[in-house]
C-alpha cells in the first residue's frame, strides 16, 4: 500500500453517478434523485451536426443491436423450437423443464443461493464496514478482505476445493476437525474401520463374545485364581509394530486375582489353528480392560503389557467377566466429505421430486462459504462508501439529544443506509442467479449434478456434445425473466 491517508484508496468514486442508489460523495443518496439529471435538452445544431453525433454512437449501437438485442429476441424464439431450432414445438421445452426432477434440482440450488448468499454477504459487509470505522488499520483490513474479488471464480474454486479436501493431510478444514475430534475422542490403538466393513464383533476369535456398546468380553466367567486366554483376529500387522507388540506369554495364575493374556490369534507357522498360543504369536499391548461383576458394574480396570498380559489383584469372591473396552477399537476421524451431495435437511423418506426440491446438499454450503470469501469485500466497500457519505450532522444531533450508540445505529444509521444495503442485496441476487464457474470447478464429478444451477444446466445442455438449442434457450429465457425485477428497479432509480 502507498502512503495515502487511510481509507483514501477505498473511497467512493468522484463524479461517477451510480444507478443503484449508492450515495454519491456529496452525500446525496441517489435513490431519491436521479444519478445525473436529464437537464441538457437537445436543441440547436444542424442536420449535419446531428448526423455527426449519431456517428459517435454508431459502433456501440451496431454492436449492441447485433450481439445483444437481436440474440435476446432470437433466444425467446429458439425456446419455442426444437434442439436444432428448426421446428416449432410450442411450450414443450418449458414443460420438460418443470416436469423433470433432475432439472428442478437446478432451481432448488438457485433458490438456496438466492435465499442464503445475498443476505449473509450483505450482513458480513455491513459488519466489516461498521467495525473498520473504529480501527486504525482499516485500510489494511479492507485491502485483505477486498483482494479475493480480483481472483477468477475458477481459481477461487480450486483454492477452496483444496481447503475442503476429504483427506486431513490435504484439506485444512478436515485437518482442523480431526485435531479437535482426536482431542475430544482419542482413537483407540486397534481402530475398527466401519467404512472398510470391519466390526468389533468380527475381531473376537478365542474366548470372547460381543459385549455392551462396541466392547468385547470374555465368553466364560472367571473367578479368583483363574488365568484366561483371549484371542483376537483381524489385527493390522503395521499397528502391532506401532504399539511395540512382543511375543505372547501365558502368565502364571495369581491367588486372589485373575491373570490373563490378550493375543493375536494368528500364527504364521500354523495359519489355520485358532485357540492355541504359539511362540510366534504376538501379545496385544495397551488394551484397556475392565473387570465386570455379574451385575455389570466395574470391579477394576487395567492395561495389557508388551506381551499382552494383564492381572487383576485381590478381586474377592464371586464370578466376573473381563471386558475389552470399546475405546480400544474406536476409529479416528477420517474426514467429512464437505463437497458431497449428502443433504443437510432430512429428506431421504420423501419422493424423488420432493427430494429434488427440498434437500440442501452440503456442497452448496461449502461453495457459499467460498463465494462469501470472494464477495464480502465488495459488500464491505460499497456499504463503507455509503457510511462515509452519511450525514454526520444527523448522527451528531442524535448524540446531542442523548441517544445511545445502539439507538443511533438502529434509528439513524440503518434507515439512511437502507438504500445502499438494497443495492448490495440486489446486485448479489443478480450475481448468484447467474452463478456458473464456481460450481463447474468446485463441485467434484460425484456431486456436480446435485450442485448444478440454471446457468450451469443451460451450458451443459446447450454446449456439451454439439449445440442443442431448445431446452437450453428456455433455461436462458427463465434466467432473463428472473432478472427483470432488478432491471425495472434500476430503470426506476435512473428516471428518479
Amino acid at each position: 500500500m502507498s502512503s495515502r491517508s487511510p481509507g483514501r484508496e477505498l473511497a467512493p468514486p468522484r463524479g461517477a453517478g451510480v444507478p443503484t442508489g449508492v450515495p454519491t460523495p456529496a452525500g446525496t443518496p441517489v435513490a431519491t434523485s436521479p444519478a445525473v439529471p436529464f437537464t441538457r435538452k437537445p436543441e440547436g445544431g444542424g442536420r449535419r451536426e446531428q448526423l455527426g453525433s449519431l456517428l459517435f454512437l454508431a459502433p456501440a449501437g451496431i454492436w449492441l443491436l447485433a450481439i445483444t438485442i437481436y440474440p435476446v429476441i432470437a433466444t425467446f424464439r429458439n425456446s419455442l423450437f426444437d434442439e436444432s431450432a428448426t421446428s416449432y414445438v410450442g411450450l414443450s421445452n418449458y414443460k420438460a423443464i418443470f416436469s423433470t426432477a433432475s432439472i428442478l434440482v437446478n432451481f432448488r440450488n438457485n433458490v438456496i443461493w438466492v435465499v442464503v448468499f445475498p443476505f449473509v454477504v450483505t450482513f458480513l459487509g455491513l459488519m466489516f464496514a461498521v467495525l473498520t470505522e473504529r480501527i486504525r488499520w482499516s485500510t489494511a483490513f479492507k485491502t485483505i478482505i477486498f483482494m479475493p474479488i480480483v481472483f477468477s471464480a475458477t481459481a477461487s474454486a480450486l483454492i477452496w476445493r483444496t481447503i475442503f479436501d476429504l483427506d486431513p493431510h490435504v484439506g485444512m478444514v478436515n485437518a482442523a476437525v480431526q485435531t479437535a475430534s482426536d482431542w475430544v475422542n482419542p482413537p483407540g490403538l486397534y481402530p475398527v474401520s466401519a467404512s472398510a466393513g470391519q466390526t468389533v464383533a468380527g475381531l473376537a476369535s478365542t474366548g470372547l463374545s460381543p459385549g455392551a456398546s462396541g466392547s468385547l468380553q470374555s465368553s466364560s466367567t472367571v473367578a479368583a485364581g483363574d488365568t484366561v486366554q483371549l484371542g483376537l483376529i483381524g489385527i493390522n500387522v503395521a499397528a502391532l509394530q506401532v504399539v511395540g507388540a512382543q511375543n505372547a506369554v501365558v502368565p502364571s495364575p495369581s491367588s486372589g486375582g485373575v491373570t490373563g493374556l490378550v493375543y493375536r490369534d494368528f500364527s504364521p507357522s500354523n495359519p489355520t489353528v485358532r485357540g492355541q498360543v504359539f511362540p510366534d504369536e504376538d501379545g496385544l499391548p495397551g488394551l484397556h480392560l475392565t473387570l465386570l461383576r455379574g451385575d455389570g458394574t466395574a470391579a477394576g480396570s487395567t492395561t495389557t503389557d508388551q506381551h499382552g498380559d494383564f492381572r487383576f489383584d485381590n478381586i474377592g469372591s464371586g464370578s466376573f467377566r473381563v471386558q475389552l473396552d470399546a475405546r480400544n477399537f474406536r476409529s479416528g476421524f477420517t474426514g467429512i466429505f464437505w463437497l458431497g451431495s449428502q443433504s443437510v435437511t432430512p429428506t431421504s423418506h420423501l419422493s424423488e421430486t420432493a427430494q429434488a426440491l427440498l434437500s440442501v446438499p452440503l456442497v452448496d454450503l461449502a461453495m457459499i462459504v467460498a463465494y462469501l470469501w470472494m464477495w464480502a469485500g465488495f459488500a464491505m466497500v460499497v456499504i463503507g462508501a455509503g457510511l462515509t457519505s452519511l450525514n454526520r450532522e444527523l448522527l451528531e444531533a442524535g448524540r446531542v439529544d442523548g441517544a445511545t450508540e445502539s439507538q443511533i445505529f438502529r434509528r439513524i444509521t440503518m434507515p439512511l443506509l437502507a438504500p445502499v444495503l438494497v443495492v448490495v442485496l440486489v446486485t448479489m441476487i443478480i450475481n448468484v442467479l447467474k452463478i456458473f464457474d464456481i460450481i463447474l470447478n468446485m463441485a467434484p464429478g460425484s456431486s456436480q449434478g446435485d450442485a448444478s444451477t440454471l446457468a450451469l444446466a443451460m451450458y451443459n445442455d446447450g454446449f456439451t456434445g454439439g449445440i442443442h438449442s431448445g431446452l437450453s434457450s428456455a433455461l436462458a429465457v427463465i434466467l432473463f425473466l428472473l432478472v427483470i425485477p432488478a432491471m425495472i428497479s434500476n430503470l426506476r432509480r435512473i428516471r428518479g
Partner: protein, 304 residues
C-alpha cells in the same frame, strides 16, 4: 471518522446502554483473526505452488511453517518449460492476453464515443437510448450465447470466415457485454463536465471530433481508466464465454487451462495450484497498483 464514533461509545457504556460495546483492543483482535482467516486461502495456494509435488499427499501445506526448506520454484520452472505448446500454461497466458487487451481497449474507446454522443450529441431520443443501456446492464449473457454462435456460423457460411472457435469471436462477444456498463459509467462521468467548457469550444469553432479529442478525452481519462481496469479483470477471469466461443480451438486462456486440469485426475494438484497462482498474479498486480481506479469501477458497477 473513528474519533466521531469511538468517543461516544465510552459515554454510552457509562449510561449503561444495553448493547455490549467491545473495547478497542478486543475489536483489534477480532478483526485481526478475521483478516488472517481471509488471507489463509491465498497463503495456502501460494505455499502449495511452491512445494514439490511429493509432499502434497503426505502433509498439509501448513506444516511448511516448521520446514520452510521445502519451498522451491520448481513447479513454476516445470510448467513454463513446456513452452508455447497448445494447452500449456505459457500458451494460455498469451491467449488470455490476446483476448483481454483488445476486449478492454475496444470497450473503453467505443463506450467513450457513445457516452459523448449521449451527453453532448444534439439529437432526440438520447434519454431513451440511455435507459435502454441501463436496461441492458443486468441482461444475463447466457441469453445471447446460442444465437451469436449461430450468427458466427452463418457469417462463416457466407464469407468463409467463421469467428466461432477464434479469439476474435470471444472478443466480439466480450465487447458486446462490456459496453452497457462502459457506456453507463462514461456517460455519468461526462455528464459532470461543465457545459460552459463545451460551449467555449463550440464558439471557438471546434468540431465535434475536436471537442471529443481535445476536451472530453483528457478530462475523462480517470473514468476511462476505472472502466478499463474493471473490464480487464472481468474478461481475464471469464470462463464461460471462452468455453463456448473457443469451441475446439487448442489455444485456451488460463481459466480453461485450470478447468481442464480439474477434469483430469486429482494428482495434478501441483499444476492446478501453480497455474492458479499464475492466473491471479496479473489481476493482483493491477489490483495493488491501481486499486483506487478499480474501487471506483466496482462502486459504479454495483449492478453488474
Amino acid at each position: 471518522m473513528s474519533a466521531v464514533t469511538v468517543a461516544p461509545a465510552a459515554a454510552q457504556t457509562r449510561r449503561g446502554g444495553f448493547r455490549l460495546r467491545p473495547s478497542r483492543a478486543v475489536l483489534d483482535i477480532v478483526l485481526a483473526v478475521i483478516a488472517i482467516f481471509w488471507l489463509v486461502p491465498t497463503i495456502g495456494l501460494t505455499i502449495i505452488s511452491l512445494r514439490p509435488e511429493r509432499f502434497f499427499q503426505q502433509s498439509g501445506w501448513w506444516t511448511v511453517l516448521g520446514a520452510p526448506a521445502q519451498l522451491t520454484l520448481q513447479n513454476y520452472a516445470t510448467l513454463f518449460s513446456q513452452g508455447l505448446v497448445p494447452g500449456g500454461v505459457l500458451d494460455s497466458l498469451t491467449t488470455s492476453i490476446a483476448i483481454t487487451l483488445p476486449a478492454t481497449l475496444l470497450v473503453a474507446i467505443i463506450s467513450s464515443l457513445a457516452a459523448y454522443s449521449l451527453v453532448f450529441g444534439r439529437w432526440r431520443g438520447r434519454d431513451v437510448v440511455f435507459l435502454a443501456v441501463v436496461g441492458l446492464l443486468v441482461v444475463p449473457l447466457q441469453v445471447a450465447l446460442i444465437p451469436v454462435v449461430q450468427m458466427f456460423r452463418g457469417f462463416g457460411g457466407l464469407t468463409g470466415f467463421n469467428p466461432y472457435g477464434t479469439v476474435l469471436g470471444v472478443v466480439i462477444f466480450h465487447v458486446a457485454f462490456g459496453l452497457p456498463f462502459g457506456i453507463f459509467l462514461m456517460r455519468n462521468f461526462l455528464a459532470g463536465i461543465p457545459t460552459e467548457l463545451m460551449e467555449a469550444g463550440r464558439i471557438d469553432g471546434a468540431g465535434q471530433w475536436t471537442l471529443f479529442q481535445r476536451v472530453v478525452m483528457p478530462l475523462s481519462l480517470p473514468a476511462a481508466m476505472s472502466l478499463a481496469i474493471f473490464q480487464f479483470i472481468w474478461v481475464w477471469n471469464d470462463l464461460l464465454i471462452a468455453l463456448v466461443f473457443l469451441g475446439g480451438n487448442p489455444h485456451h486462456p488460463l481459466t480453461i487451462f485450470l478447468y481442464d486440469q480439474t477434469r483430469t485426475l486429482a494428482a495434478n494438484y501441483w499444476v492446478i495450484s501453480t497455474g492458479a497462482m499464475i492466473s491471479i498474479l496479473i489481476p493482483l498486480i493491477v489490483f495493488f497498483s491501481l486499486q483506487r481506479y478499480f474501487v471506483q469501477g466496482v462502486l459504479a458497477g454495483a449492478v453488474k
